[in-house]
């Protein structure tokens, strides 16, 4: 059964077809959610929300683009909106905690390369980080990223280039690792 037949069955309310469609796409959705959220509970929440929205709105999917492209548009919207909510809440918490901890902060030991890389990627602006993770970590094409994020392919390329440039500066202490 091809995907358009499967989608027709899902639209007709076939729950087995829903599960088949879910199985075909859930890994990629969950992987992207996990890569962006860095947390299993959040990744599960975002994956769940993505499929609920997809099933609810399947009637509006006209088939102009691939179903996976449409699904990844929902995924990135759900993940980025969800992370913004969590970030706002954590920021408020941090502000309150910081107010109680002024003068008690300690200098941490220099972390290793993997930790520094993670911190540098986390510190990228949201748009750069999303494009970097989708392209360099998860292997999406610029066309897929452009479609998912609703931006031009050129914008995706430009953001990736800027993300790499920022990471290169942030990781300059480790330059010996890549010039070997």
């Amino acid at each position: 059964m091809d995907e358009s037949q499967l989608l027709a069955r899902v639209r007709a309310g076939d729950s087995a077809a829903e599960r088949t469609l879910y199985d075909a796409h859930v890994d990629r959705v969950y992987r992207l959610a996990f890569r962006l959220a860095g947390d299993d509970a959040l990744a599960q929440d975002f994956t769940q929300e993505t499929f609920i929205r997809a099933f609810d709105r399947l009637g509006s999917f006209r088939g102009d683009a691939a179903f996976s492209t449409w699904l990844h548009t929902i995924t990135t919207t759900v993940v980025l909106n969800g992370l913004r909510k969590v970030k706002r809440l954590r920021q408020r918490e941090t502000d309150i905690d910081d107010a109680h901890e002024i003068g008690t902060t300690q200098r941490h030991a220099e972390p290793d390369l993997k930790v520094r890389l993670r911190q540098a990627i986390d510190a990228l602006p949201e748009g750069y980080r999303t494009v970097f993770v989708m392209h360099d970590v998860e292997g999406y094409t610029h066309e897929e990223i452009g479609a998912a994020l609703g931006v031009e392919t050129g914008t995706s390329k430009a953001q990736l280039s800027r993300a790499r440039a920022k990471l290169r500066v942030a990781l300059s202490d480790f330059a010996g690792e890549w010039v070997r």
Binding site: D27, D45, I52, L89, E93, R164, A165, R168, W178
Partner: protein, 219 residues
């Protein structure tokens, strides 16, 4: 021509190293599917499209205006003299009740969004050393609103009432967090949240998209 920022060696190294960034666990397919089915079964709700929210906001303002006008009229005038006037009064009262109910729904949506953000963050932070006193304080604030919601017309909807009951329990547990046994308590609360599917139910009760009408403090 190669861009001045391009460095193939760095980019290859970066791609290799970045594979370890937030390296995903195996997909818990069945677990997520069960949650999706459960959330869709409990799908409810206050489906407010963006344009409807503005209508609702305007309706809420109108309801308050009519209410004030009606109260002023009752204060200033004698009892109604005719049946026609009494009938018109009943209609206005019904409209006020209907609009007030919608206003309560908007306030409920606002409250549910705040609670969802708080519980999502609480669960994500369950194993971290977030400030227990602060969590407890936030939970107490939300708990107070939950209890007001339970006494409001918003709780006339049996599904929303059931959800508010679940939220009241979770928020009460968080508000009583003991800093000494913090880690164990948080694990138990998180387990309870997972077992009762409170977050999926909560998300199902929140309409998609932002909620532009600020109603904090309305209840």
């Amino acid at each position: 021509m190669m861009d001045q920022h391009e460095d193939p060696k760095f980019e290859k190294w970066l791609r290799d190293e970045a594979r370890s960034y937030h390296s995903p666990l195996p997909t818990p397919r069945d677990e997520i599917w069960k949650r999706i089915e459960d959330a869709r079964r409990h799908k409810h709700v206050i489906e407010l499209r963006p344009w409807m929210r503005w209508v609702v906001a305007a309706a809420a303002v109108l309801a308050v205006g009519i209410g004030i006008g009606r109260w002023s009229a009752n204060q200033a005038s004698a009892p109604p003299a005719s049946t026609a006037t009494a009938g018109a009064g009943t209609r206005v009262a019904n409209e006020i009740d209907s609009l007030a109910s919608v206003a309560y729904q908007v306030a409920a949506t606002q409250y549910l969004s705040r609670t969802e953000a708080f519980l999502t963050s609480f669960r994500a932070d369950a194993n971290r050393s977030a400030n227990t006193a602060r969590l407890a304080r936030q939970a107490r604030d939300l708990l107070m609103t939950t209890q007001l919601m339970l006494d409001s017309p918003a709780a006339d909807d049996p599904r929303l009432r059931s959800l508010l009951g679940d939220l009241e329990l979770v928020l009460m547990q968080i508000s009583l967090l003991n800093p000494v046994q913090d880690g164990r308590d948080r694990d138990l609360i998180t387990q309870g949240m997972n077992q009762t599917n409170v977050l999926p139910k909560l998300r199902s009760a929140i309409p998609a998209g932002p909620v532009p009408v600020r109603t904090e403090g309305a209840l």
